[in-house]
């Protein structure tokens, strides 16, 4: 009887000691693959940090390139009599600018 009580006490003690740890274990336990998991977190962090910068940078660059091309074509066409500086200034709408 005393032995049974001791065994029960040991079992309860062990449960108090170890079960909370198991119960609080991470739901996405890496099961010994900490290195791979850490690498995945690191790569994902770098990727997600840089992606918006690269995407926005590309977007702005494309707009800038198109803007430059239009400027060049405008300057090229300004040599024609219709779009000469005087003619262009005369044709400028007074309120345009937005």
């Amino acid at each position: 009887m005393r032995l049974a009580r001791a065994a029960l006490g040991a079992g309860v003690s062990a449960a108090i000691l170890f079960l909370p740890r198991a119960g609080m274990a991470c739901a996405v336990c890496t099961a010994g693959r900490d290195d791979e998991s850490n690498a995945a977190f690191l790569v994902s962090t770098i990727f997600l940090s840089l992606l918006p910068l690269v995407a926005l940078g590309t977007f702005v660059y494309v707009l800038w390139r198109r803007f430059q091309k239009l400027e060049q074509s405008r300057e090229g066409s300004s040599h024609s009599p219709r779009l000469s500086p005087q003619g262009a200034a005369a044709a400028e709408p007074s309120g345009a600018g937005s």
Partner: protein, 198 residues
């Protein structure tokens, strides 16, 4: 937005008659939308990568193998569809009526992609891969499903574009807007295929 005091002015968007413009309103809006979509897919794929790298066994035991070869063929159909949209844009700039055939072909190829994806899903569900069967199933249906949703939306846009073209109402910027979205859908798929299927 203006750059110089002298005209002709170059505007970022909303050009008025005779003024050059950098980008049309529709294309600008679609590009901004695509930027947000890129972040959406990047987030989902990143989480999938982390879960995959952290799993003790991948793919999860007892789950069916994803149809890699069959989907590769389907991927070719999607690529060909993107190429057809590109050809349609090129032809539209030269001769508007000649864009009709590549646009129709792009719609047919995109439809083939969607139908095959549906067939693949039915097959996967029958084999036991469901949204709740494993992490693989959850991410497969989430990521591939989200992409399929975009394909269906882009397909609807292409059909609308084709109808407008058939009636002679299609403006180049409308075709360009649809093309931007379709290029995004086509461009995102190889990355999804690489990360999820392989």
């Amino acid at each position: 937005m203006t750059t110089r005091a002298t005209s002709p002015q170059i505007r970022l968007i909303a050009a008025e008659h005779g003024e050059p413009k950098v980008i049309s309103n529709g294309v600008l809006g679609m590009l901004l939308f695509v930027l947000t979509e890129i972040m959406l897919f990047a987030g989902m794929i990143s989480v999938f990568n982390i879960v995959r790298a952290s799993a003790a066994v991948w793919p999860p035991p007892g789950q069916p193998r994803l149809p890699v070869e069959e989907t590769a063929i389907n991927t070719l159909a999607l690529f060909a569809s993107g190429l057809c949209v590109y050809l349609a844009q090129r032809r539209f700039a030269v001769s508007r009526p000649s864009a009709r055939t590549p646009l129709a072909l792009a719609i047919v190829l995109a439809s083939i992609f969607v139908v095959f994806q549906g067939y693949e899903w039915v097959s996967m569900i029958a084999q036991g891969l469901t949204l709740t069967s494993s992490a693989l199933g959850s991410f497969f249906y989430l990521i591939v499903g989200m992409h399929a949703l975009h394909v269906v939306a882009a397909l609807a846009m292409m059909i609308q574009t084709w109808r407008r073209h058939a009636r002679g109402w299609l403006h180049p910027s409308q075709l360009a807007t649809t093309a931007v979205f379709w290029y995004f859908v086509v461009g995102a798929w190889p990355i999804i295929y690489w990360r999820v299927y392989l």
